[in-house]
């Protein structure tokens, strides 16, 4: 029983031995836990699993400066002391420590995202998943915020070989500054980031007024949020903005960064999202039926990260996972109730209705500027997908959309599959 979408999933067991050091919040071991959870839910039976090639330095240098890549390749903990200037120059050492298999780790996760993009390009799959990727802070010439190589940029550059326009969506609690910065001048990539902004929250960028420059003006969208946003308001905002963006921009492919630090209870995050709320974004993006590259990202409470990404793998496979986590080697991590879903948090929601309204208004305003001045050759790629006309005021938009999606599907291919019907509608009013 295979999902109608062909899914490629990337995993390399070697990430398990990557360790950033004591007390570093980034723990690649979460990837092992995620994979293990995916396997214990038997999700592997519905998809193809690939081991990514280790990206070559020359591939990494497609975006990054050659000297930076070369330095990452060369440096190891034993030679650290020899290069104090370079370490400072490339911002290595503190947030971004140098550890033994650092470069191999970068090669693996970047290779995963690049492979994923290539498989999408060659139409070998409809959706590609690389939970190891999504390190959105890395800059062209320096590391930043636990990120060394920006696999997202590399993946998007790969997608740009086949698609005139690529949409990047980022639901990490932190601003996707590395990706935004990389594509700040271009209209071929639209970056949309939903993140916490203010109170000196890392990385400090991502104000609503950051909209891109030159040809890229209006092609960077930032949705700055405050502490404690909950499922309902997040999803409403997400759906409104994303549907408008897709409708306006008509992307050829979508890259979705699913940083799990926007979940409630994250060690570094401050939102109230439940796993359902987080996964709802994935579900929504999947519905556009565009080539979709899904990556991981942040996420610093590792059992929740594993839960979240397992659920989202399920969502992409149109599989609803039972809430009881099957026995597995890491069961203990999921104590006390060993259940899959975590509820939303209870931090005070500082996002007032009017605040969110203002943000939405500004974003919509900027989007309108695109309609009037399309900088891209919109006609070249005819939309072969359905844009749900999402109406946020409607009580249950998903219901209506599904009907239309179904019709579309039936027209488009008779490979229509019942999985679509059992979309659960437990979403709180869109």
């Amino acid at each position: 029983m295979r999902s109608k979408d062909k899914i490629s999933y990337f995993y390399d067991g070697d990430v398990g031995s990557v360790y950033f050091g004591p007390n570093h919040p980034m723990k690649p071991h979460r990837l092992c836990m995620t994979h293990h959870l995916v396997l214990s839910y038997d999700l592997h039976k519905k998809m193809e699993i690939y081991r990514p090639h280790k990206a070559y330095p020359v591939e990494l240098a497609q975006f990054h400066s050659a000297d930076y890549v070369e330095f990452l390749h060369r440096i190891n903990p034993d030679t650290l002391n020899l290069y104090p200037n370079e370490l400072a120059k490339y911002n290595l050492g503190e947030d971004c420590p140098v550890f033994e298999n650092l470069f191999e780790f970068c090669q693996i996760y970047a290779g995963g995202t690049i492979d994923a993009a290539r498989r999408l390009n060659n139409q070998l799959c409809d959706i590609a998943i690389n939970w190891a990727g999504g390190l959105h802070h890395a800059k062209k010439c320096e590391a930043s915020g636990f990120c060394y190589i920006n696999d997202l940029v590399l993946g998007i550059l790969e997608l740009l070989k086949y698609h005139a326009r690529v949409l990047y969506i980022d639901i990490d609690v932190h601003h996707g500054d590395g990706v935004e910065e990389a594509f700040y001048f271009t209209d071929r990539v639209m970056t949309v980031s939903f993140h916490k902004y203010g109170d000196l929250f890392f990385p400090g960028t991502g104000e609503v007024k950051e909209i891109g420059e030159r040809e890229g003006k209006f092609y960077a969208i930032n949705v700055p949020l405050k502490d404690g946003i909950d499922d309902a308001s997040f999803n409403r905002l997400f759906k409104t903005i994303i549907s408008k963006v897709v409708e306006t921009y008509l992307p050829g492919a979508i890259v979705l960064q699913c940083g799990a630090d926007s979940l409630a209870g994250d060690r570094l995050g401050c939102f109230n999202l439940s796993i359902d709320g987080h996964a709802e974004c994935v579900r929504f993006v999947k519905k556009f039926n565009l080539p979709l590259l899904v990556t991981g990202g942040g996420g610093y409470t590792k059992e929740n990260v594993a839960r979240c990404w397992a659920v989202e793998t399920g969502v992409l496979l149109d599989t609803e996972l039972p809430n009881e986590i099957p026995e597995n080697e890491y069961s203990k991590y999921f104590a006390p109730d060993y259940s899959l879903k975590i509820p939303g948090g209870h931090i005070e929601n500082l996002n007032s209705k009017s605040y969110l309204g203002t943000i939405k208004m500004q974003v919509m305003e900027n989007l309108r500027s695109i309609q009037h001045a399309p900088g891209v050759q919109m006609q070249e790629v005819p939309p072969d997908f359905y844009i749900p006309d999402f109406d946020e005021d409607e009580q249950n938009p998903d219901e209506r959309m599904d009907q239309q999606t179904q019709d579309k599907h039936i027209q488009r291919d008779d490979e229509y599959y019942e999985g679509d019907n059992d979309n659960d509608h437990n979403i709180e009013g869109g």
Binding site: G13, N23, N91, G111, F185, P322, A335
Partner: protein, 660 residues
């Protein structure tokens, strides 16, 4: 003058009280229009030296000023400095045995040469060095006219080019025949500075850190005009010897003019406004724009002033007032400043009060915004932010927290200890808002970080060309699952429905018992193994879970645990280094694997039994593990929302080499 100087003095005096940190450099010169210009330069120089010295030794040593020689003669430090500098600097003078000449030129007899050398070493050497280091920076002098010279003292503290902070104490004074303008400007470029860097600082970008005190031309300036300076700036940094600096979040400007005509005065004020405007425009529009503006402004201030000027009446008005006070401080309209304790009884319509409010609010705002985080952060880190000051770490926003914290701390401790309360007491609560709104213009600029642009930041995106699609079918990954040759275990796979949850009931005698769980876990694992075939090993499933412990002997396991317990990261220790040392026969992979698969999992198992809620297995710190009561755990949890801001605060920055 009196009115304003009192204000300034008030502040200057207020600040140093605060403490052990009072290494403030107080550039406060009280000159008068009629006073002897030379004296005032000396006076200023002495004060700089004094502040510098007290800064250097942190108040621990006392050096009398002016220094006295054995015969009770006072040494004119300024003169000494100038003479030595003219002769080619300390080293040159010493090498060539020219101290006698120096003594002579200073108006002392030859035998005092060695004494002068001592005085120079004690008082002036470091300041001289400091200046020398910066002399190669671009000369700040700017010719404005025949009778005018710009004379600047530019104290700049910067990290490397990209660093998001910069202290710029720009002490500019224009000297003319009968006019003098001095403004003190401390500017903090919190965000990426490219946009902000004023032209005369731009050249210094490349250098890692520089302090720039340019006193060149001091002497020649005296030749013309009156020297008047009135402007106080409290300025401090953690330790002059430290190469890395922290930022002062202050912006204050006062400009004074002697008999400058009205339009000149207006110009000055306008240019100040323009400067801020530029920053603002930069935010709203393109960074490039701002950059250009800033540069233009500095290079060609008179021409640029009226371009792109925006009305901002409030600020303009206040600046005008300041300028007017500067022009004629004794004007009865200005009046005198009441006692500080009585300030709150005055209304906001008082100009002087608005200015004070602006000034205080500018400093308090950021202090307040980060103080909460700071304290929590400190608790969590168990590390004083000052530690960061010793490292280059404090530089960037990306290193976020550390920088912000020390910055905030600096700000508060430098000028206004306990500012918030202080301010409220002084002005009364409602006025805070006014002050904030007035200062908002500046603050906003500082708290905002911009997207850097340029070839070093953006990706090269090729133009879209449909035909150029090259098929890159290489490197698509290696398929691990499903396997090409399906093994005989197919039936096993097909029999189980996919996506099943946990078995709620099983045939075990004691459901949910340790053995039962263990049995089902291994049952599942064996099934997986059969099903996955080689993939099982590719994914290292065989190295997942507590089974990893089978390859370890008991002694090693005990040793491993003991090391971690003995080296809690909370005490700044690094167990990882120790482990590496004590297990030379195990490779890194094995150790990491054991740590996550066995050690943490077991610990979690224990926690599950003792503290069923709110467990964080993401804290490597054992302190939390040993805190077995629930309330303790909750307390920890409650910190989380605040702890987030650093995000990526990795606490163990010291441990770069620990993994080796």
């Amino acid at each position: 003058m009196a009115g304003f100087s009192k204000i300034a003095d008030g502040f200057a005096l207020d600040s140093p009280e605060n403490v052990d940190f009072s290494e403030d450099l107080v550039v406060c010169s009280k000159g008068s229009f009629e006073g002897d210009k030379k004296e005032s330069v000396e006076c200023m120089f002495n004060q700089v030296v004094s502040a510098f010295l007290s800064e250097r030794c942190g108040g621990k040593c006392f050096k009398p000023l002016p220094p006295m020689l054995g015969n009770g003669q006072a040494v004119d430090l300024y003169k000494l400095y100038v003479v030595v500098r003219d002769k080619g600097g300390y080293e040159f003078v010493s090498e060539n045995g020219m101290w006698g000449c120096v003594a002579k030129e200073c108006g002392l007899s030859l035998e005092f040469g060695s004494c002068l050398k001592l005085v120079y070493v004690k008082y002036l050497d470091s300041i001289g060095e400091w200046m020398e280091r910066t002399v190669n920076g671009k000369d700040l002098k700017d010719k404005l006219g025949d009778s005018e010279e710009v004379h600047s003292v530019n104290v700049m503290d910067s990290e490397s080019e990209k660093d998001g902070e910069r202290v710029h104490l720009d002490l500019e004074s224009k000297l003319g025949d009968s006019e003098a303008v001095q403004s003190v400007r401390v500017r903090d470029f919190e965000s990426d500075t490219r946009g902000f860097i004023s032209g005369n600082l731009g050249k210094d970008e490349k250098d890692g850190e520089q302090l720039h005190l340019d006193l060149e031309e001091t002497k020649s300036n005296i030749t013309s005009g009156e020297m008047l300076c009135k402007g106080s700036k409290v300025w401090r940094f953690a330790d002059l010897d430290e190469a890395k600096r922290n930022v002062i979040n202050m912006l204050f400007e006062s400009s004074e003019e002697g008999e400058l005509d009205e339009s000149k005065c207006q110009n000055e004020v306008q240019s100040s406004v323009q400067l801020h405007e530029n920053e603002r425009i930069g935010n709203d529009k393109k960074i490039d724009d701002a950059k250009t503006c800033d540069v233009n402004f500095n290079n060609n201030r008179t021409e640029d002033v009226n371009n792109r000027k925006r009305k901002r009446e409030g600020i303009q008005g206040i600046l005008n007032w300041v300028a007017n006070v500067a022009k004629d401080p004794c004007n009865p309209i200005v009046g005198s400043l009441p006692e500080r304790s009585k300030w709150k009884y005055f209304g906001n319509d008082q100009r002087w009060k608005q200015i004070l409010l602006v000034r205080q609010a500018m400093m308090v705002k950021r202090t307040a915004s980060s103080s909460v985080e700071q304290s929590i952060w400190q608790k969590k880190q168990k590390m004083h932010p000052a530690m960061y000051e010793d490292h280059s770490v404090s530089a960037r926003l990306s290193r976020g927290l550390s920088f912000k914290k020390s910055q905030a701390q600096l700000c508060s401790e430098t000028a206004y200890p306990g500012m918030q309360g202080d301010l409220e007491d002084t002005f009364g609560r409602p006025n805070l808002r006014l002050a904030e709104s007035l200062s908002g213009l500046w603050i906003k600029n500082f708290n905002r970080k911009r997207v850097p642009v340029g070839e070093y930041f953006q990706a090269e995106v090729p133009e879209w060309d449909e035909k150029s699609c090259e098929s890159d079918s290489k490197w698509l990954g290696t398929r691990v699952w499903p396997q090409e040759a399906k093994l005989s275990c197919n039936s096993l796979i097909e029999r189980e429905r996919t996506g099943l949850g946990r078995h709620d009931s099983c045939g075990c005698e004691f459901q949910g018992s340790f053995e039962c769980v263990r049995f089902h876990v291994s049952e599942k694992k064996i099934r997986l193994k059969l099903e996955l075939g080689m993939a099982f090993y590719h994914w290292h499933i065989d190295k997942m879970g507590e089974e990893v412990a089978f390859s370890w002997n008991k002694v090693d396991e005990i040793k491993f645990e003991a090391i971690i317990k003995l080296n809690p990261p909370s005490e700044g220790k690094c167990f990882w280094e120790e482990i590496h040392k004590l297990f030379p026969y195990k490779n890194r992979e094995q150790l990491v694997s054991y740590y996550f698969n066995v050690f943490l999992l077991r610990r979690r198992g224990q926690q599950n039994r003792s503290i069923p809620i709110d467990i964080s297995s993401d804290d490597d710190d054992l302190e939390f593990e040993t805190t077995t009561n629930c309330s303790g755990q909750r307390a920890v949890k409650s910190l989380k929302p605040n702890y987030c801001s650093p995000k990526k605060t990795h606490l163990n920055f010291r441990g770069n080499s620990r993994m080796g």
